[in-house]
Symmetry: C2
Subunit: 275 residues, 2 copies
Amino acid sequence: MGAPESAAPLSQPAATFSYEHEGDRQFATTLARGLEVLRCFTPTEAMLGNKEISVRTGLPKPTVSRLTYTLTKLGYLRHNMRLGKYQLGSAVLSIGYPLLASMSVRQIARPFMKELADYCSGSVSMGIRDRLNMVYVESCRNGNGFSTLPDIGTAVPIAQAAVGRAFLAALAPAEREAVLNQIKVKQPESYRKYKPQIDKSLEEIRARGFCVALGELRREVYAVGVPMRRTVDGEIVAFNCGVPAFSLKKGQLEDDIGPRLVAMVRTIEASLGMH
Amino acid sequence: MGAPESAAPLSQPAATFSYEHEGDRQFATTLARGLEVLRCFTPTEAMLGNKEISVRTGLPKPTVSRLTYTLTKLGYLRHNMRLGKYQLGSAVLSIGYPLLASMSVRQIARPFMKELADYCSGSVSMGIRDRLNMVYVESCRNGNGFSTLPDIGTAVPIAQAAVGRAFLAALAPAEREAVLNQIKVKQPESYRKYKPQIDKSLEEIRARGFCVALGELRREVYAVGVPMRRTVDGEIVAFNCGVPAFSLKKGQLEDDIGPRLVAMVRTIEASLGMH
DNA sequence: GGCGCGGGTTTCAATATTCGAAATCCAATG
DNA sequence: CATTGGATTTCGAATATTGAAACCCGCGCC
């Protein structure tokens, strides 16, 4: 079977388990593996058979079989018996909701984000870190159709996305180094390719409050990123604003949209401050 | 369990595990328990200590300790060490995203939903089943502030919500009986209280295509529900439209909004049909 | 300071689960 | 009807998990 070599750099999760957690008597391997199974599914690979999961995770087939069986019983997977494949089940959504609901910054920020998204005919999103990605917890786009939509739960690589670099800029130097080092180790090609841009972005944020990413994540989308200057509930929050490249006038991103995103974030910070 | 059971606290999920899956050599208990830990968190109880989790799940403290340790290492929980409590981590969001992204019906439906939400100054949501709840996979509300927002991932009890009864109406009779029976067993008070309304709703849908729920889930929100007449990807999809009770004119829900929601769903079905 | 209390964590032997090669099953295909 | 590819079952050995009890620790109280 032509296992489609995805562009996305998957490391070896199986190896990860064996090496990183060996001898840790606290660590519940089965739980980690089950969750790793859920993580195999992506928007483009929404249906997977046990074999494919086994290949992706590096877990033995019988183990995968039991894990998918369990996850299916619990509603986290659905079994399509005509294809003999699994896909994510509705239960995966409900475990994320309490997190969203308890982040009041989302409600506060939403109108400001919508306003900016409308102004620049693009999309404005709020993200927090997950591993080496930023996950969107809120996203607004202008009414008329922006090709593909950013959506809550979308994960974008820290290294490539404006929102990711904004996040890096907000980190304490020591932690920033730690994250960069993880990227270096786990996504070496990505690191080589984007490290200069990352450094430039950090400098931009110091100088102007925002950074730009010109089609580095998706060729046709140019974006600016801004971090919040305070944490929310101990979590660093960053914003981006992405606009279709073709609709941008020269200099508009740097001179208009960037500063507006900065202003928006400052407004949100202020609204948060007064609780 | 996941359902917002108001009065009656909790059944015994631990017992649930032991009894329901004893002797099932396929079933990965540790995985199920870990996921059950994640399900303990709710919007109103966003932070829990090991002891609280232990009480809610019925699992012994050391077991919970190890599970939270594992989940924290993986990013599904965050540890707040000033309080010694846990809260959901960003990783819970990213496992749900591929499911959302692969449901193309969401994109198709969104503009129609938005239009209706604007028209009736309320919110329009699309839900699928999770256990005895309906989970929202898409939700639109009109711009001006509707008190509390329905959001993607929100779970509402099938028995009480218009969207849940719409779902029931779309089920094959045998499966409907099965679900109703589960409700009877697992949410007995809820069943006693709402069974007559449920029957009425089923009849309404047969007769007019939609059902109404007048403040049964939230006192101040009146809602109508409509099921889709075809499954999407094997999954039954239902819609609701909720409006603040005070802003409704007499008869408006039945004579105007209900039929409009029906029309909306028919439009979406048609758009889906032509792929 | 001493005491008790309410978590949280560690210990450790008993127990249950997982491993994984090989066998089996099953449905689709030639 | 033989073949093929994947999913599932089998089973003894290897390993991980379990959970009662003990331990730890910070806190408030007397």
